[in-house]
Subunit: 350 residues, 2 copies
């Protein structure tokens, strides 16, 4: 910048203002500056700018890890949305460790990021370290694994809705004894999926049958075992709604092993839209978690908070409507029209 100023015989003030399109610089001067900047291939030093302005163009992300299907896709969505808004993304992994999460938080704070997106580690029970962020007035948005309560910004998938639409879909296929492979109930996602399942059953006037609900850890092996258990019932199910794709896969394999046809004898649907669901035979009906949209929504919310600056901002919770992906593992007859349910969450993104 100093070079440009010298060459044009003006002050650095003028250069800076011309470059940032300040109103007090004449159009002629602006042109000259822009041209010279291009000629010299001037590159602003973001550090200096951020230091002076007290805000960088960086958004910090803390995720448990960058692996599997979910988090990479969310990060993909975040980076895309952030980049579109002129922000860049600095990414940290907590490795499911609170201590690491805390360290990451410190680092992001000291890097003067403009805002932080967090998906909690599994070991995060105490969330007090986030209060420092709030006390600094730094925008903070949780996604997927969130701090419960309505005094935080959060973006989640509506798991209950997911369980609900899955079950309704199976009902619409004529199934009446719908089993559920349920995950650990201390995890919200699994609790909610189960609740959605029960909601749909109740709405259809079907009884809740505890024999049809198997609790497990969502692994493929346990899916096999659960299916074996279900098929041994006096009245075996005519459909299975699994709270995870791996357990659904296990169930499908066991059904095949016992000579049953999917979906004719037993319809199956999973949850998460894992890659492999398209290559099973039959391809598996599942729930897409809309990972990228979640990333986008989180960024959108974060930017709103950032733009609100110091102004009082009411924390918002956003729920993404899960998408039912219907494939052959569940299609027995043409879809029947059913009435729709409303969501309970403040903002609902269809």
């Amino acid at each position: 910048m100093a070079d440009l100023a010298r060459e044009l015989g003006v002050s650095m003030t003028t250069i800076s203002r011309a470059l940032s399109d300040h109103h007090s610089i004449g159009p002629a001067m602006k042109q000259k500056v822009l041209k010279l900047a291009k000629k010299y291939n001037y590159q602003p030093n973001r550090l200096a700018s951020a230091l002076r302005k007290g805000k960088s163009q960086l958004i910090g992300i803390i995720v448990p890890y960058i692996e599997g299907r979910f988090f990479p896709s969310v990060v993909h969505g975040i980076e895309t949305a952030a980049s579109k808004a002129g922000y860049n993304v600095i990414i940290c992994q907590s490795n499911e460790d609170v201590a690491q999460e805390r360290r990451n938080l410190e680092i992001l704070l000291s890097a003067q990021v403009a805002g932080i997106l967090v998906s909690l580690s599994r070991t995060t029970l105490d969330v007090r370290h986030f209060e420092k962020v709030r006390s600094r007035g730094l925008p903070l948005v949780f996604f997927d694994r969130i701090v419960e309560g309505d005094n935080v910004n959060a973006v989640v998938l509506d798991d209950q809705e997911g369980g609900y639409v899955s079950t309704r879909h199976l009902l619409s296929q004529g199934c009446r004894r719908i089993a559920h492979l349920a995950g650990p109930q201390h995890l919200n996602i699994y609790k909610n999926r189960r609740q959605g399942y029960l909601d749909a059953l109740r709405e259809a006037g079907l009884p809740e049958d505890e024999n049809l609900i198997v609790y497990m850890d969502m692994s493929q092996e346990q899916g096999v075992a659960a299916m074996r258990q279900l098929l041994a019932l006096p009245e075996p199910p005519d459909a299975v709604f699994a709270a995870g794709d791996y357990s659904a896969l296990g169930a499908m394999q066991e059904a095949h092993r016992q000579g049953l046809q999917v979906p004719q004898d037993v319809a199956i649907s999973g949850f998460s839209n894992e890659i492999f669901t398209v290559i099973t035979q039959p391809a598996m009906t599942t729930i897409d978690q809309r990972c990228e949209e979640m990333g986008q929504a989180a960024v959108r919310l974060l930017l709103e908070v950032i733009d609100a600056a110091g102004a009082p901002f009411t924390p918002r919770q956003v729920a993404l409507r899960p998408e039912l992906v219907v494939r052959n593992s569940s299609v027995r007859e043409p879809e029947t029209e059913l009435t729709t349910k409303k969501s309970r969450i403040s903002t609902f993104i269809p």
Copy 2:
């Protein structure tokens, strides 16, 4: 810092030096400073530090995208290794677009990163934009999709070795008519995998039979088609080495459809160790690309260049030895011992 200085009645110089463990500060004073810093929860401003020092603790990554199996895992490896070394990672996606890649490069430069890791976009034919990085003396390491030549730092998987060990494995299983599902030969990875396949055949004294090589785009559908074509040969193959897992999957499905047993009638091996390879039946033999190790190796190399500072550094190419993952789709008899081949690349990480 100013607060600390005031409270202790010393200058900021002292504070700064105490915090960075400078020799000219007495141990007593250091203790006092550290203690007070903790008490006030002092957080250094990395921007200011980086601005003054001219180097940040940030490493920039440019990848085509953060999706699928490969890149997220590499990024995971990078972040883990970088974080261990006290660096943080700012990540950019080129979306397979040179223009975007160029913009990302500018951004990273203006963010004053300490070094850059790049995997080229598919549309990057002209690599001149990287010369600006070099002219700035900024450490630069390519990984996976690299600029060819020995004047750059690069980390790659040795695809030829992958093709070679896969084929040798199939040979060791007693297979003698080994087909190859080959990818587009203008892409180095596929060319090299094919070359490794040919090397192994030649070494075993088997003829190269063009009828047994099918060129395709590596999709599941084309895998099916290719297998159909191969099985229609007068002398069908007794094994298939596919340059990708999806095509291997298609091949396996078609084999099953024609009533063949895998691996008894035809052994199959793939490439990439996609998630689904463990859930096919039989589970699929494949090549693991050691994504995380690639990330680690890239960071290690980058740090070496960074630490070499201005000192003349000879560019290095590192090849990762791929790992053969043997599963049931290819195991017909106990593994036979074969002699090993040497690699052609300067550094070889086993």
